[in-house]
Symmetry: C2
Subunit: 100 residues, 2 copies
């Protein structure tokens, strides 16, 4: 099952790393404990809406910007995990050797 | 503070109502309790990732589709609540009547 907290964790980590920042730095900017932020990035804990707002602020992004990246990532994962429907050749009449 | 659970609740309710469905119907399709779904729609409770996945499935939408609508709504609310910067006229020298 595709779980939002796991994809959100990846997105928050990607943003932080793209900014060249440490967990400690973002935790401090967000007023969120280091351990909690780390758990959220690993997808182990759900971020409450209040916590998510604080982390977005700490990263200097709006909630909609983070949600946009999350949507894109989830869509990508959905594409990768979608059931594959292989092309099926149309049924053809079998011509047996004896009929030739 | 803009809270994700409140906007998510609104989005889930809008989708359900656009489908002309009752809370009871979607709760049943999602295997989520009616009371819990109602609380989520009202923004009173955070939906866990498992519950959100179940509700999306019950509504017949992918998580990325719901997140897309959520992103759009949050962006709209951010625009409405952004601090307004009024245009400030450039400073001009004050010409006093006596100087004329």
């Amino acid at each position: 099952m595709l779980l939002m907290r796991q994809e959100l964790g990846e997105v928050l980590r990607e943003i932080r790393q793209a900014q060249g920042r440490t967990l400690r730095d973002v935790a401090s900017s967000s007023a969120v404990s280091l351990g909690y932020l780390s758990e959220i990035e690993r997808g182990g804990k759900e971020a409450s809406s209040e916590l998510l707002a604080a982390i977005c602020a700490g990263l200097g992004l709006s909630l909609s910007e983070v949600l946009g990246q999350l949507r894109d990532r989830v869509e990508h994962v959905e594409t990768l995990t979608a059931p594959v429907s292989l092309p099926v050749a149309p049924a053809r009449e079998t011509v047996s050797a004896s009929a030739a």
